[in-house]
């Protein structure tokens, strides 16, 4: 009996300790980290455009405010001016994404597109004295430089700016569906060089390359072919080729063009000449509006 009451007493004491012991517990509250969700009616015009024209239809975010993790801090780069952002968005949508969507179908761009586009205001110079117009990183991010130099009233200027995207997008397409590099590289196998900038565009064309940068390697050559095709209407593009005085050079470029057209047709389901016409039409529309 004594033992029983002792056990009872000890048990009660333990229970009391348990009940009144560690019962102070902080409630879970909102995060200490500031991650403000801005209501849609408070978004700026620029942010609303990005949401409606890029995030919702294509799942592509546009970074225009300075974000140091998105840029090479060893270069002297700066964010774009506020006034430059809307024109850049207009060109990116109308001249790059909309034509691919129209010719390739509504799911084409969302399925194969970068997740992030970064706008940089100024030129990105290299040690060689050349300037990089744009870069694509692992297919996830495309960076546009010289956003502040975009002039919508000038079709050549629009083409120079968007040519970056056309070029870089080809790399993303190629990373998803490779082209026949060996066959393509055999057309002008001995003329590729890391010193491409020492030759002019005219000299490069006379060697069978559409641009001097195309001489860097096979992949850049392929992307440059697409860039030049999509930076000109078909008539102008043909005039560029026909103006090359060396017949063999013209033939070499036409062979490359055939591989490009075949890749777009068979691998992507896109008639590149229809795409070319759509890009040219939209470019003209923008430059005429200004």
């Amino acid at each position: 009996m004594k033992n029983t009451s002792n056990r009872y007493l000890i048990g009660m004491l333990a229970l009391v300790c348990l009940v009144f012991g560690c019962q102070k517990e902080e409630k879970i509250t909102e995060s200490l980290l500031k991650t403000p969700q801005i209501p849609e009616n408070e978004l700026s015009d620029i942010d609303l455009t990005i949401k409606n024209d890029f995030i919702n239809p294509y799942n592509i975010d546009i970074i225009y405010s300075w974000k140091e993790a998105s840029v090479d801090l060893n270069r002297f780069l700066v964010p774009p001016r506020k006034a430059s952002i809307t024109p850049a968005l207009k060109v990116i949508k109308s001249v790059w994404l909309d034509p691919y969507t129209k010719i390739g179908g509504a799911t084409f761009v969302p399925n194969i597109s970068p997740r992030e586009i970064v706008l940089i205001g100024n030129q990105n110079f290299n040690r060689s004295g050349t300037a990089t117009l744009g870069i694509a990183e692992a297919g996830a991010r495309v960076t546009f430089f010289e956003t502040d130099n975009l002039d919508l009233s000038n079709a050549d200027n629009i083409n120079r700016f968007i040519g970056t995207a056309q070029h870089e997008y080809v790399h993303i397409l190629n990373q998803t569906i490779p082209f026949d590099e060996q066959r393509y590289g055999n057309i002008t196998p001995s003329q590729y060089t890391s010193q491409w900038f020492n030759s002019t565009i005219t000299e490069a064309r006379e060697l069978g390359f559409i641009s001097n940068y195309a001489r860097l390697n096979v992949r850049e050559d392929f992307a440059e072919m697409v860039r030049i095709m999509l930076s000109n209407d078909n008539k102008t593009y043909n005039a560029i080729i026909d103006a090359i005085p060396i017949v063999n050079a013209r033939n070499l470029i036409r062979q490359k063009e055939a591989i490009v057209a075949d890749y777009y047709n068979s691998e992507l389901g896109i008639d590149i000449y229809e795409l070319q016409a759509e890009v040219a039409k939209n470019t003209l529309t923008i430059s005429n509006e200004e």
Partner: protein, 469 residues
């Protein structure tokens, strides 16, 4: 019962030892969690920035071995807006942009939308072509190092891992006083006056940078201003090239590092509106001062004139495309006048070349003086590939120290009829008093040595040339 009490005591002791301590703040050093503390620090900086009625200012020297300092004024507003003005260029109005106080390696101030402050950080905004890609070496992201009521010490983020950081003074963001309100306009006014004095046709390209102390002095040779970079270049008595980085002030200029005159440190020089002195700084009563003054001839006369003409087939060329802005304003005016003359022929001047001791095929007994000539290269305005060379044969005399005299022979070869078109420049080059010749210590764009020709009669006229040897 004794056993029971013992058991209870042991039990309570055990519970006491292992039970939870009623302490909701395990990190007893601080009352708030780290995230909260960072947020409140960010808020504190933000509130402080917005509290300045007249705004804040800083003088930013991004890389004092290459460029000088630039003054910026900021007015921080609600919604992360900021108004910015600077003495970087002629536009002294406020520009509205945005900023952010965020967390980098510590709290940092970032100007996240391009504005005037980005002029110093953009690789394509350059004082001259040699800095393409780097520009003024500046930044628009600054770590907040220290906070006081009227001062916030900033540090350039880019320089943290760079050896330049040791040379880089703190960037002091100071609360503006009522006296500072017009500082940007005042600084620009000083720059304008300085520019006028340096480029006056009545002035001189020769300057002396002089330390005076107790009746003695120490002189720097080859003193010249680069106003776009905001630096003074000079060579000390031991032949060491010095770069003095400065910023504009309402009265003159200020150096970011003091210049020592004996044991006195001098930061500020006052611009003189007239007279032979351009700047005076320090305390003359204390017998320690700095003077930058105009000279009518080089501080040190050398044998550079003889060196220039030694050897065979030496050529020196003024190339208008690369060297126009490196010549004096007075010479630029002569180029402009020459181009106006040439415009009637649809040509423009692209080069002036000096050829010495040339083995000219025409150098025969009938033409004994055709070893030296000044050559003017002109280019068709409609056809870049069409370049015509106009030659004026001269005799060269180097007897006077530092001076070359090109005496006009009147021999223009086949080009005599066009000679009057070049008289604005040619008359200066062939003036009987001659030209001071200096082998300069600086280069322009290319590594070629620069040689200058300065009119003895009118020392505000200076043309510079590349040595092609």
């Amino acid at each position: 019962m004794r056993h029971l009490i013992k058991k209870i005591v042991w039990l309570l002791l055990a519970i006491y030892c292992i039970s939870c301590e009623n302490d909701t703040n395990p990190d007893s050093l601080f009352e708030k969690a780290p995230t909260k503390r960072i947020e409140s620090k960010i808020e504190e900086v933000n509130t402080l920035l917005k509290s300045a009625e007249n705004g804040w200012k800083f003088v930013y020297f991004p890389n004092d071995s290459q460029v000088g300092g630039f003054t910026y004024v900021f007015r921080f507003l609600e919604d992360n807006k900021v108004e910015i003005k600077s003495d970087f260029d002629d536009d002294t109005s406020f520009e509205t942009s945005s900023y952010e106080i965020n967390l980098g390696s510590t709290i940092q101030l970032t100007f996240n939308e391009r504005s005037k402050v980005h002029d110093l950080a953009s690789g394509d905004v350059v004082p001259d072509d040699s800095l393409i890609g780097e520009g003024y070496f500046g930044n628009f992201q600054f770590l907040v190092q220290e906070i006081k009521t009227d001062t916030i010490i900033l540090r350039d983020v880019r320089l943290l891992d760079d050896n330049l950081v040791s040379k880089q003074p703190d960037i002091k963001l100071s609360r503006m006083t009522t006296e500072d309100i017009n500082i940007i306009e005042q600084n620009r006014a000083v720059l304008s006056k300085l520019n006028d004095r340096l480029e006056s046709p009545d002035g001189s390209v020769f300057l002396a940078f002089e330390k005076r102390f107790n009746g003695a002095n120490e002189l720097f040779t080859g003193t010249r201003f680069d106003l776009l970079r905001r630096i003074i270049l000079a060579t000390d008595k031991d032949g060491v090239n010095e770069t003095f980085a400065f910023n504009l002030t309402p009265n003159g200029i200020a150096f970011n590092k003091p210049i020592k005159v004996l044991n006195t440190e001098i930061f500020n020089l006052d611009l003189q509106e007239s007279g032979s002195d351009l700047f005076i700084g320090g305390n003359e009563a204390d017998n320690k001062s700095i003077h930058i003054a105009f000279l009518d001839k080089p501080l040190i006369l050398t044998d550079d004139n003889k060196e220039m003409i030694s050897g065979l087939n030496n050529v020196y060329g003024y190339i208008d495309e690369n060297l126009n802005t490196s010549t004096s304003k007075a010479f630029q005016a002569l180029v402009k006048q020459t181009n106006e003359n040439l415009n009637s022929l649809n040509f423009k001047l692209i080069r002036v070349q000096f050829h010495y001791n040339v083995n000219d095929p025409s150098d025969d007994e009938a033409n004994p003086n055709r070893n030296n000539f000044i050559q003017y290269l002109i280019q068709d305005l409609d056809d870049d590939s069409r370049i015509v060379r106009i030659i004026h044969y001269v005799n060269v005399d180097s007897k006077t120290k530092s001076i070359l005299k090109f005496s006009a022979t009147g021999d223009w070869g086949l080009n005599l009829s066009v000679a009057p078109l070049f008289s604005a420049i040619d008359d200066v080059l062939t003036d009987s008093d001659g030209l001071y010749i200096i082998k300069e210590s600086y280069t322009v764009r290319f590594p070629n040595t620069i040689w200058s020709f300065t009119s003895v009669k009118t020392p505000s006229i200076q043309v510079v040339s590349y040595s092609f040897q």
